[in-house]
């Protein structure tokens, strides 16, 4: 699916002394099989923005387009199924007595048959590497396990766009890498992925395009290489290192991901 946001504006508590203009005309899009990374400082509007992607928040101005169709003309339930949103700290919303029941909740509400529900739950739990937890209570799991179960609950709806709001914060490095692998797997099967993170090192490893938000506006959008080399204050360690070398006259191009950067730097060491 191609999801497009055009000139989205959002104001919290309008007309009060606490009015906050959280989004000031944001436009971007994500296509099938693409990972769009959204970065930006605390309070820059990332969470507000992603909640417009399935119209959980209504824009004060602008449009959301789903395959070029105005999202407000779709049924809310259909929109929420097609655009799956994983909130920041999604584990706070776990509620069922077992992991299996929790993940089955959304597909059951879609009115699917029991066999189909079973397949979807199994598949989603396998995707996040949590099949072994199916009979456990979600409340007696570690934070990292709960996060996977919450993500499985959204995957079980079979979304065409998966939106993840800081999914790796608080996860250990191994769980982070598992999650990045999952994102690549979904992308390779044609799902569109929006990944919000404040960790630029991490987002540099998976994003096909990067958007930097600043004070509710798009500061930059483009390929990781364009965006990071032009915005050093948001650059991952790989880019900062290469940029420092380029600055002294060593032209070694503009690698971003760890592997290609290591290869470029290793070339220098060999002469």
């Amino acid at each position: 699916m191609r999801l497009e946001l055009r000139h989205i504006r959002h104001v919290y508590s309008p007309g009060t002394p606490f009015q906050v203009e959280a989004l000031r005309g944001v436009s971007l899009s994500v296509g099938p099989g693409e990972v769009l990374g959204i970065i930006g400082g605390t309070g820059s509007g990332k969470s507000t923005l992603v909640q417009h992607m399935n119209l959980l928040l209504e824009p004060a101005g602008g449009k959301v387009l789903v395959d070029a169709v105005d999202a407000t003309t779709l049924k809310k339930s259909e929109l929420r199924r097609r655009v799956g949103l994983v909130f920041q700290f999604p584990e706070a919303a776990l509620f069922a007595p077992t992991v299996w029941e929790d993940v089955a909740f959304a597909p059951r509400r879609l009115g699917l048959e029991e066999a189909e529900i079973g397949d979807r739950v199994r598949e989603s739990l396998a995707l996040v590497g949590a099949d072994h937890l199916k009979d456990r209570s979600p409340f007696a799991l570690s934070g990292g396990e709960q996060r996977r179960v919450a993500i499985a609950g959204v995957l079980a709806m079979g979304p065409e766009v998966l939106v993840l709001d800081e999914p790796t914060s608080g996860l250990d490095p191994a769980s982070r890498q598992d999650l990045l692998r999952l994102i690549r797997t979904l992308r390779d099967t044609g799902t569109s992925v929006v990944l919000v993170s404040h960790d630029t090192d991490e987002i540099a490893e998976v994003a096909d395009r990067i958007c930097i938000l600043e004070k509710g506006e798009v500061r930059a959008i483009g390929s990781p290489s364009e965006v990071f080399y032009a915005n050093p204050d948001f650059a991952p360690a790989t880019v900062s290192t290469v940029a420092a070398l380029n600055e002294t006259g060593w032209d070694i191009g503009h690698p971003v991901r760890f592997r290609e950067t290591l290869r470029a730097l290793a070339g220098l060491m060999e002469g």
Binding site: G170, A174, H198, T241, L245, T248, L265, M269
Partner: protein
């Protein structure tokens, strides 16, 4: 007799009610006053459980905990006066209607005079970069902003011992740097136990405790940990990207602290050195 250690545990074990497997078993270590000690390890390793036992939220199943010589379960007042805790999920800590009340909450409980209280609250709010947020309602804040409010509440209390459970997990790079600078400013003056998944935050720590499967599997200097690939791998720890680049290039892993350091080191070692410029 010398002062008792700030924190000491001996053969500490704990199982959550109804759970067969212990969340913590046989943990023993000491932290002297003024030390800055990191705690790392995989999710579920027992880090948060350990902190809850130290501040008396949970009572030890067996073994002992002492905070400046006091037992958190039988002398809660002595312990609460000395220990400030930052929870892993900031949602769990915020209680008051406005940001400034939330930051003042702990001070009110300690009976600090009003004038001093106001000054301390203002100082703490500024220290975490939230000036202007005093009258905002905590539930309208973004995750990272909430985390800063919780930290301000802790700083205002000025406790002797700070237990920090992933204090920077929701902060952006700039926010993380500010908080770490602030903690650096408290070094020696306070005893700090800092749980994190980001090893780069602990490169200057006095020691690092590694917890895995409820056990304390290592109590080492940062330099020992980052130069021990087996110890890292066994505990699912990953070096920060800068150090991974350095070690991938065969440079000494503990050296570079900034991308500029690494760039200089590469230039220095490269046979192309003479060509450039």
């Amino acid at each position: 007799m010398p002062d008792p250690a700030s924190i000491s545990c001996e053969d500490l074990s704990y199982a959550y009610p109804g759970e067969a497997e212990p969340a913590l078993s046989g943990v023993g270590f000491e932290v002297r006053a003024g030390e800055y000690v990191g705690v790392v390890g995989p999710n579920g390793g027992g880090k948060s459980t350990l902190l809850r036992l130290l501040n008396g939220l949970l009572a030890a199943g067996s073994g002992t905990v002492r905070i400046a010589g006091h037992d958190p379960t039988t002398e809660p007042f002595e312990v609460r006066q000395r220990v400030g805790m930052l929870f892993q999920n900031p949602e769990n800590g915020l209680v008051a209607p406005f940001v400034e009340d939330d930051v003042a909450f702990g001070l009110e409980n300690l009976g600090v005079p009003r004038g001093e209280m106001r000054a301390r609250v203002r100082g703490a709010i500024e220290a975490v970069g939230l000036a202007g947020y005093e009258r905002r309602e905590p539930h309208t804040l973004s995750g990272g902003e909430k985390q800063r409010v919780a930290l301000a509440g802790l700083l205002a209390l000025e406790p002797e011992i700070l237990l920090l459970d992933e204090p920077t997990s929701m902060l952006d790079a700039a926010g993380r740097r500010e908080v770490l600078d602030r903690l650096r400013g408290l070094r020696r003056e306070k005893t700090i136990l800092h749980v994190t998944h980001h090893l780069e935050e602990l490169l200057d720590a006095d020691r690092i405790l590694v917890m895995n499967g409820g056990e304390l599997v290592a109590d080492v200097y940062p330099a020992q940990l980052i130069s021990d690939p087996d110890l890292l791998a066994r505990n699912y720890l990953v070096l920060p990207p800068l150090l991974r680049l350095a070690s991938g290039l065969g440079l000494e892993a503990k050296k570079p602290r900034t991308p500029e350091d690494l760039a200089r080191e590469i230039q220095h070692r490269s046979p192309r050195r003479t060509e450039a410029r």
